[in-house]
């Protein structure tokens, strides 16, 4: 008997299907089905995965979707050919675009407009033997003999009667009846999980879900034997499934992506146009004539591009960059192809390819006909303009955003399963908090036990197995941070488009892996805060120093800049400002651009977990000989002294050391990233070790290579991206080194971004002898400005102040400065709350009004600003000056902290210096004079707390006093012992000992004392990172 399953929901029908599409396809193949249709509700989001799995298993896959028109019975539609598939996508798009995110609204008329190459299977209600026959006729009239009635039997209370009723309908309407399974999960064992997601869907628990749950587990892929028994006497219904499957000849392999047409001007082929642009660009990049070597490279690359037909891709990227440049939006490309000479000439990147030897074709594999990878970073405040340009240029119907499949992570899985099983909210909280973000696996039962759920109890077992099963299930589609898809024809013929949560945004139903699988072009337009800051800094430098800077013309190889970097004086600089990076800088001592590339990639979880940092440093400092097992490996690892630091090197290593093909190497990379399938990694491990053995690499070395590759799988950083980032590192360092005031202003003006809060940036600027002027109604703008080479702080630093308020003040100021408070009130007409904000920030200093007095005056204003009328009082300030107590210096500082989280007057701790001296606490600034291992006491406000997953429970804490910052190392035990302080206090006194190496100083904490009772009024916020 041949049977094709025609009606299957995968877990892309969110919270309805309980199996992955690939599981359904594989299981169907195992059961000997002739074909399987994945028919998710109003969606084809899961079909690409099913397609890949079905292809591997040699099973035919039908593409379809289940839809419920508002005015007709639900129906399953299957695509018979490419056109039918387009119709299906169009239909889904129509319904999805009309409805809010996640919903779909369709009518029978919509189906009537797109039905020519679709087959229909009408779904009678599962709950009752009732159907409007007129509606069935409607379907039959529309679809003719392409219409079927689905007979689904689930061992209900009266299957026989139901089948008889369906048979009757078949006779009455002459719509042929066909068997189908209404499948919700691939094996009966998934039934428990299905109950759980049903409970999640209806926000209840399984014990209370009652009739919302399936009464039995029949909705799985049933064996052919079972089906035979079920449909006994009606075997033709089973045979007819084959008939339906035979009519559907469409396969996703037929989808051919076509680049948009308007990339090249009329009458010119894209290749000619690209060639022309490249040579023109080369002329501009090398005004003194293109060097012979570069000329050769360009010719070679262009040839490769032509061969692989990538020219439209390069043109698309070029077009974006051109647009951004025309709008003065700073941007930069990164990724394998971005480091080509062609991209340098096109202006996509400013990294001179002669400075970095990245072989273009190494990353564009001839075997895998895959689109090259170029991500473009834009200023984070202006990326939207670029996206709008794309929408405008290609039209909404040809442009869409890549989806991101948001999947269940340990925490969300624990929460949902816990709720469904009726665990107490308290226990669920503890379980979720105790589970790490990434980790589950073997440790999960132990974790559960720690917080009081016995993993051996029946509820514990159920909970653990269900939560583990739910991991990786898709929850909803979200928009990718910037992946844009553009097509020649309408996009909705290729893939359905739906509304995103954000107003005016649409996403396609596939994520980037799906698009990759089908070879569909996407360009990643990402946003990067540092680009905004650099652009703003360029503008300030131009305004105040008349110097025209671009990413490409910042002077190279400036020793002063590298000296600064080696000193780890890098607060605010792109990438290398984090504590881990800063403690690496004095050890690595970058002296050239390529050192920066290494610096950017080395402080990553990949190299750290693969234990590559120390061997590299040792080799670099000549403490260890640089050796290579063989010549091939030497070629791959030469640049990094035999230690793989980049993702590309690991892939290369698997090729030269274990004999992988480039395609396999790529599969390996993806397998490593798919963290939820541990079995796959083992498979590759065996293969890798076997391959290396053949090349004579065994034992430790082989094992280490595997671990390195595994480390990279999750958090690897490619050289091609590091190369572009390194340029931004250099440019931002250069700006910081030469224009510290402008640099600080632009970073503060681009917040939120980076690692440090404005308070630290301001402090750093002052440490670099920049004069910092306070916020004042007579001098400040919304943003920070440069005033006679000093940094004038802007109103944006005041928390809770609206930009419009500031605009009012600045406009009123255009006629001359304010002389008195009275005048300020008359001219600005600000409301009481706004005035109070300004007075809290002490912004009236130039009017000789202190905080309390100006606040007193602001209180007299009405709370809604009104137009002054004839009858409103003409003056606002009382004649009697009230007797308000003077603020002490310390109170002023505390008030500064409350409004702006920093103070230009003094550090809150400075008021306690004498007291601290008597406790033998040394200022942080003196730490560098303390010898290694000597015990010491320091104190300060907690600026940030960071517990990297790689640090074995160690928390890195930075505290600050009036002389500078101190870096603390707090071991897990200490952290727990002083839990009360470490969790709640923002001001610490620490007893510990100094650990210094290569001018990197840490204080290892032994004892922590709470200082917050002294500094309770200081409201600081620690920036916490994990």
């Amino acid at each position: 008997m041949r049977y094709a399953e025609l009606h299957c929901l995968s877990n892309f029908s969110f919270l309805q299907g309980a199996s992955h599409p690939e599981e359904l396809a594989t299981q169907a193949a195992e059961l000997g089905y002739a074909a399987i249709a994945i028919t998710d509700q109003n969606s084809v989001a899961g079909v690409v995965r099913a397609h890949a799995a079905a292809k591997d298993a040699g099973l035919k896959l039908l593409i379809g979707a289940e839809m419920t028109p508002q005015d007709a019975p639900p129906v399953v539609l299957w695509a018979t050919n490419r056109n039918g598939y387009g119709e299906l996508c169009h239909l889904i798009t129509k319904g999805r675009r009309r409805a809010p995110k996640g919903d779909c609204q369709l009518t029978f008329d919509d189906i009537a407009q797109h039905h020519t190459d679709l087959l229909a299977g009408i779904l009678p209600s599962a709950h009752a033997e009732q159907i409007d026959v007129a509606r069935l006729h409607q379907y039959r009239d529309l679809f003719g003999d392409r219409c079927y009635l689905l007979a689904e039997l689930f061992r209900g209370p009266h299957d026989g009667k139901r089948l008889a009723w369906l048979r009757g309908l078949e006779l009455q309407t002459s719509i042929p009846l066909v068997a189908s399974g209404g499948v919700l999960f691939h094996t009966p064992t998934r039934r428990m999980l299905h109950d759980v997601i049903t409970a999640v869907r209806y926000r209840t628990s399984v014990a209370q879900a009652g009739h919302l749950l399936q009464p039995n587990r029949e909705r799985h892929l049933r064996s052919l034997g079972d089906l035979n028994i079920l449909y006994q006497g009606h075997e033709e219904l089973l045979a007819r499934t084959q008939e339906v499957a035979d009519q559907c000849t469409f396969s996703l392999d037929e989808l051919r992506y076509e680049y948009p047409r308007e990339l090249a001007p009329e009458g010119m082929s894209p290749m000619d146009y690209l060639t022309q642009l490249t040579w023109n660009g080369a002329q501009q990049r090398f005004p003194e004539g293109v060097p012979e070597k570069v000329r050769g490279l360009i010719q070679h690359e262009l040839q490769l591009i032509e061969e692989l037909q990538y020219e439209p891709y390069f043109l698309t990227v070029w077009d974006l960059v051109r647009f951004a440049r025309s709008r003065d939006i700073l941007c930069q490309g990164r990724g394998s192809a971005a480091n080509s000479v062609v991209c340098y000439c096109l202006g996509v990147t400013s990294v001179d390819p002669s400075r970095i030897e990245v072989l273009f074709e190494r990353f564009i594999s001839r075997e895998r006909n895959e689109a090259p990878d170029i991500d473009i970073d834009f200023e984070h405040e202006r990326r939207e303009e670029v996206l709008q340009y794309l929408y405008a240029k290609y039209g909404r119907e040809r442009t869409g955003m890549t989806a991101v499949t948001v999947t269940y992570r340990p925490r969300s899985a624990i929460r949902d399963v816990g709720k469904a099983l009726g665990l107490s909210q308290d226990l669920i909280d503890r379980l979720a908090k105790n589970a790490g973000y990434h980790s589950t696996g073997e440790k999960f039962p132990t974790r559960c036990k720690e917080v009081g759920l016995n993993p051996a109890s029946s509820i514990g077992k159920q909970f653990i197995s269900l939560a583990t099963e739910l991991l990786g299930f898709p929850r909803h589609l979200s928009q990718h941070t910037g992946g844009m898809v553009m097509t020649r024809g309408p996009l909705h013929c290729l893939v359905p488009i739906e509304n995103a949560a954000m107003e005016g945004r649409t996403v396609v139903q596939w994520n980037k892996d799906d698009l990759d699988e089908l070879g569909i072009l996407k360009v990643d337009c990402l946003s990067l805060g540092m680009l905004t800051a650099i652009r703003k800094c360029f503008e300030l430098v131009k305004k105040h120093h008349d110097l025209d800077l671009t990413l490409a013309n910042v002077p190279e190889d400036d020793t002063k800049v590298y000296d600064m970097i080696c000193r780890a004086d890098t607060i605010g600089v792109f990438q290398i400002e984090s504590r881990a990076q800063m403690s690496m800088l004095p050890r690595l001592k970058p002296r050239c651009y390529y050192d920066l590339v290494i610096e950017v990639s080395i402080v990553r979880p990949g190299p750290i977990q693969g234990d590559m940092v120390h061997p590299y440093l040792r080799r670099r400092n000549g403490e260890e000989p640089v050796t290579y097992p063989n010549e091939n490996i030497k070629r791959v690892l030469k640049k990094t002294l035999g230690v793989p630091l980049f993702q590309e090197q690991c892939m290369q290593l698997s090729i030269v050391a274990a004999g992988f093909t480039p395609g396999e190497a790529d599969q390996l990379r993806r397998a490593m990233a798919a963290w939820r399938r541990p079995g796959l990694i083992d498979q590759f491990r065996r293969k890798l070790l076997a391959g290396m053995q053949e090349n004579g690499l065994t034992g430790d070395y082989a094992e280490r290579v595997f671990n390195q590759i595994r480390g990279f799988g999750e958090y690897g950083f490619p050289e091609s991206h590091a190369a572009s980032f390194a340029l931004l590192v250099y440019v931002s360092s250069w700006l910081k080194c030469h224009y510290p005031a402008e640099f600080a202003a632009s970073i503060i003006n681009s917040q939120p971004m980076g690692f440090y809060a404005p308070a630290q940036l301001i402090r750093d600027a002052r440490d670099h002898h920049v004069e910092v002027l306070p916020i004042d109604v007579n001098f400040s703008d919304w943003s920070c400005t440069i005033e006679n080479q000093a940094l004038r702080l802007g109103f944006r630093l005041i928390s809770g102040l609206r930009q419009e308020t500031v605009e009012t003040v600045v406009q009123a100021r255009a006629y001359g400065p304010f002389l008195t408070m009275d005048e300020f009130l008359v001219r600005t007409q600000l409301s009481r709350t706004e005035l109070a904000r300004l007075s809290d920030a002490d912004a009236f200093r130039s009017l000789n009004e202190n905080r309390r007095l100006s606040f007193w005056n602001s209180l007299a204003q009405s709370d809604s600003p009104t137009q002054p009328s004839l009858f409103s009082p003409q003056h606002f300030v009382d004649d009697i000056t009230p007797e308000l107590p003077q603020m002490s210096a310390e109170q002023e500082v505390h008030a500064d902290y409350r409004t702006t989280s920093f103070s230009l007057r003094a550090h809150p701790l400075s008021f306690y210096r004498e007291e601290l001296d008597s406790l033998r606490v040394i200022p942080n600034g003196d730490l560098r004079h303390i010898a290694n291992n000597e015990s010491v006491r320091v104190a300060g406000l907690v600026l940030l707390r960071q517990r990297p997953s790689t640090a074995k429970g160690i928390t890195f804490v930075t505290i600050e006093d009036e002389t500078g910052a101190a870096n603390l190392v707090v071991h897990q035990q200490t952290w727990d012992r002083y839990r009360k302080i470490t969790h709640h206090s923002r001001a610490w006194l620490v007893h510990g000992y100094v650990q210094s190496k290569d001018s990197v100083i840490h204080v290892v904490a032994n004892r922590i004392v709470d200082l917050s009772d002294k500094l309770h009024a200081v409201q600081t916020k620690s920036r916490d990172f994990r």
């Binding site: 009464p215 039995n216 209180l859 308000l884 969790h983 709640h984």
Partner: protein
């Protein structure tokens, strides 16, 4: 502060002891204390707040009875301390000043008397003790005004436009410029009717007669306030200590239905064995509630009447059997037959009959037996036909040949409490009986679960 955070503050990770907030209890306690305090002043008030937490006593014309304000305050303190309470007690010329003193100075179980005209001695106290609103506090904090003295130094007219009249009123009340009225606390009425006899009664019917009269009076009093009785306590006491007969009659819903109550009372008395002479009869409404009003309409009169009948029945059953013993059956949506019904307290489920399921494959009534066997009873299947369907079964020693077999209906559910996996069949025997039998899918055993009639 979340509990988890509070836990971290506990020394040595000892478990935190949690006591739920119970404002109702707090209020009741304070009211009781107010009654106690009435011995010291004719005017005792609770402070005006959503959740009052202080008692205000007017001692105008009282103090001299005790020999002065200090002596008076001393007895107040002693009384409450003896009862095991901690208190802060202050006497001053205005309510505001007394409040400030009582809240601003820590003096557990002692008292302080501020002589008249010496309000300025309170200038150093925090403005927190002035009963200002929270917004005013945040304003004053920002102005650096901490003490009462600093606040009083500010021009009061300028204050009005800046912090509002509520604040200046409080200041005035502190200084005595603005009068402050106290609303005396009056305890709620106790619904209790009682009669004492000089000569104890021995004849049960007299006692009953008296009791019923008292009941009637009680109901009249309640009805005036539109209240109904939901718990009635009847007590007959003899002269000797310990001789008492008492009944609690639980009614579920508030009612003033006199005949019903009489009937219920008499039912209790019927069974009473009176062994002493009754000196006191007392009828107390232990719990009262608002009477429910139902608006009658033209069309659902029948429904309402039906409901009323059921309500009366439930009330009567309650009175006779006690609330723990009256429940009704409710349908529960569940796939497993024996879990499809549940007993619930009759008071809770007031609906007449309302079951609607809208999802799942819901069986029709005719497909299920109306009564299930208390426990599934084992049967033997002696012969099967194709696909493992039963053909001949033996139950209680009797062989039955099956004429018709419908099914199987598969039920697999309940894994979260105890997994059940069964195939149900409706069968018709050669004698015309219709049974509902199932086979356990795990053990393959057969059971009879009910008879379809």
């Amino acid at each position: 502060m979340p509990v988890s955070e509070a836990q971290t503050l506990c020394p040595d990770r000892r478990p935190l002891k949690l006591v739920a907030v119970n404002p109702e209890f707090d209020r009741l306690l304070l009211e009781r204390l107010a009654v106690v305090a009435q011995q010291f002043s004719p005017l005792v008030a609770l402070n005006e707040a959503e959740e009052p937490d202080a008692l205000l006593l007017d001692l105008t014309g009282v103090a001299h009875l005790y020999g002065g304000e200090s002596e008076w305050a001393k007895s107040v303190c002693a009384t409450f301390v003896n009862k095991g309470f901690q208190l802060q007690c202050a006497v001053a010329e205005t309510v505001g000043a007394a409040w400030a003193l009582a809240h601003g100075v820590h003096m557990p179980n002692r008292f302080r008397v501020l002589p008249t005209g010496e309000l300025n001695r309170l200038n150093a106290l925090s403005i927190e003790t002035l009963r200002l609103n929270p917004e005013a506090h945040s304003v004053f904090r920002r102005l650096g005004i901490d003490s009462i003295g600093q606040l009083l130094a500010l021009d009061r007219n300028s204050l009005v436009s800046r912090v509002g009249r509520a604040v200046t009123r409080r200041i005035g009340q502190f200084l005595g410029d603005v009068p402050e009225l106290l609303t005396p606390y009056v305890p709620p009425p106790i619904f209790c009717e009682r009669r004492q006899f000089e000569h104890p009664l021995t004849q049960p019917h007299w006692i009953e007669e008296v009791s019923l009269q008292l009941l009637k009076r009680l109901l009249q009093r309640l009805a005036k306030q539109q209240l109904g009785l939901s718990q009635l306590h009847v007590a007959w006491q003899g002269e000797a200590k310990g001789t008492q007969l008492a009944w609690m009659i639980d009614l579920g819903r508030p009612t003033v239905d006199e005949p019903l109550l009489v009937e219920l009372c008499q039912m209790k008395w019927e069974r009473a064995a009176l062994s002493f002479a009754v000196a006191t009869v007392q009828m107390t409404a232990k719990q009262v509630g608002r009477l429910q009003c139902v608006r009658l309409s033209l069309f659902d009169e029948h429904q309402i009447a039906l409901r009323k009948d059921i309500d009366t029945l439930v009330t009567r059953l309650h009175g006779r059997l006690g609330s723990a013993h009256v429940s009704r059956l409710e349908l529960v949506p569940d796939a497993i037959p024996e879990h499809q019904t549940k007993l619930r307290s009759a008071i809770e489920s007031s609906e007449i009959y309302d079951v609607s399921f809208d999802a799942g494959m819901v069986p029709q009534l005719w497909e299920r037996p109306l009564l299930l066997a208390a426990f599934p009873q084992p049967v033997d299947v002696l012969r099967m036909c194709h696909h493992a369907r039963p053909a001949v079964i033996k139950w209680q020693g009797q062989l039955s040949e099956l004429r018709n077999v419908w099914g199987p209906e598969r039920v697999e559910s309940g894994w979260w409490r105890r997994a059940v996996r069964r195939d149900y069949y409706r069968v018709e025997t050669h004698t015309g009986q219709r049974w509902w039998i199932f086979q356990r899918l795990d053990t393959r055993q057969w059971f009879l679960h009910g008879e379809i009639v």
